[in-house]
Amino acid sequence: MTTTTSRKRLLNGLSDATGGIGDRFRALPKWQRGLAFLAFVAFLYYLPLLGIPGLTWLRTDSIEGGNNWAGVLFVCAVYVLIAIGLNVVIGLAGLLDLGYVGFFAVGAYSVALFGSTQSPVVKALQERFDLPQGWAVAWAICIPIAIAIAMISGVLLGWPTLRLRGDYLAIVTLGFGEIIRIVVRNVSWSGGPHGVAAIPGPEGAPSADNQVFGLIDAKPWYWLALTVVLLLVLAVRRLENSRVGRAWLAVREDEDAAAVMGVYPFKYKLWAFAIGAALGGISGALFASRQGFIEPNQFNAQLSILFVAMVVVGGAGNMAGVALGAFLLAYLPERFRDFAEWRFLVFGLALVLVMLLRPQGLIPSRRRARELKDRAEEVPASV
């Protein structure tokens, strides 16, 4: 018994400490907060050039055989984007989506199938409309297409399944992620198991002639991804504090009560799904553009679970938390490559430990932490 109480005290102390920093930050005058935020953003943009003595060990190319630092940062930024999208679904609306990789794949494949000159879809379009050989949909048009298709697939998945209770929804979405992968592998118009190559970037098809978004230098890619992340963070923040955000919160805390108050749960859940899917689509599109080549097996169910781990470990509902979770889960295996083989084991352990000891996550959303605490105090005497 004493060990439990001391452990509890330790955990409470921990959350007081992290909460304390947050409170102190919020207590600062507005201009100081703005300045701190700007400094942080500037640091993020500077990150790929990181050369401050004493901090260079952070770079992944500081170890032998380590990956290109800017390339790793790009992947981290894409994962942060995924975490922010999935956070809308899990953290804000409280729906456990285990098939998020499906939307990521839809975004990636949309860009690949419409933008690559080698894709079967583009070839069919060329034939149908008598277009020249080198024709493909421009990248700038591919991105909105990717977002639209991802959003539509979100609605198509959500429409029938969002009426299910939470744990069934999780399993059905897990199945959805697998279905997307199997379909893409089996049908002929997606390039089948061999995947699609020559996926365009902002400057067109990947080639050595590209001035900015080339194959080797990943820095411009990282800056692009970071800019997208920052814009979308601001957008989601606005959403969170809007009518829709409050509706999500109400539905998450008590669906029946929300319905009685005139919030139609299904509608807002569907919105969460669609917006989450769109964000997943954007991240997939960015990822595919940088890679230049995708194949079905890159989008397996393990990745979905990794995405959930990012959100849950970081602290569902808190954007800083999920961003931290995504960054850690993408960055640590790259920096400590000796343990790369162990990473999924470690992620699994992290999931279990966080759920058992700190279910609100590393940087919790205060409201969610309170919900969990409330429930714990409601325990009936007989349990």
């Binding site: 409280g94 456990l96 285990l98 029938p160 399944t161 299910l164 209770r165 939470g166 744990d167 069934y168 999780a170 399993i171 059905v172 897990l174 199945g175 959805f176 697998e178 279905i179 199997i182 379909v183 089996n186 169910a301 393990q302 679970i305 959930v308 781990a309 849950v312 083989e341 162990w342 999924f344 084991l345 992620f347 699994g348 352990l349 992290a350 999931l351 279990v352 759920m355 058992l356 279910p359 969990l372 429930r375 714990a376 409601e378 325990v379 009936p380 007989s382 349990v383």
Partner: protein, 313 residues
Amino acid sequence: MNFDELFGHLGQHTVDGLAKGSIYALVALGYTLVYGVLKLINFAHSEVFMVGTFTVVGVWSLLGATDSPPLGTLLLLLAAGLLAAALASGLTAVAVERIAYRRLRRMNAPPLIFLITAIGLSLVMSEAFGLWQGRLVVGIPTVLERDVVFSIGGTDVTNTQIITVVAALVMMAGLDVFINRTRYGRGVRAVAQNPDTAALMGVNKDRVIALIFLLGGLLAGAAALLYALRYGNTRFNVGFLLGLKAFTAAVLGGIGNLRGALLGGLLLGVVEVYAATLTQSNWEDVAAFVVLVVVLLFRPTGLLGESLGRARA
């Protein structure tokens, strides 16, 4: 779509589907028992099954199993494999409950927390075996040569198919008697109906919950042996897809309903074999998911209804 093949050998495919479905049914019982009592999806159950398959590999290599041994050795191998796999899986399931779920139950955690914990555990277990046993397919000796025992109207029935279906039916019947006729079974049903009232009546809830995890694990271990006989190999991530399908089977029959798990398992096996025949195996796995989604949409309580558990508001 290869309809000629399907309808030309309909009996053959049906028998094969039933044999395949028996394995699903045994694993599905584990999901259904836990769901019936605790109302939670024990996502880690798939890994409990995976541990069973590796136990079969370990015990058989310890006993020096070879392809098609003499009858006496064969029986010994089967008995040892069954015992060891059932025990290993059963203990794993109990350990999962003890380590993870009990603490969460004390915290009155929401269902999603249980589910995420279970997913984490499942990842930990499959990855631990992936690191330990390697990530490649591990072969299992063919101790029982596939052999046609009898054929009716052009439909061949093999010995492994008979063993699989009969074993599943026997264990199913045993479980049914245990739950419906014994003192312990009454405790399980009481806790499933109303945990608090059951506790007031002197049922030890923790013991009942450990018991259902043990039962589910034992059956998953038995399923692991049958799987080893049928497929002759295993892999660290063998549990993922099979677990998902077994869960589908449980939902199809009506989760929380023991007979439903059997019905759902057999049906799903048959549907899958039909789908595999029609599409040259490409869409086999999709068939299971489509069945799951359709059932959840049109009859979320499954074919036979959720009888062990109560319908939740």
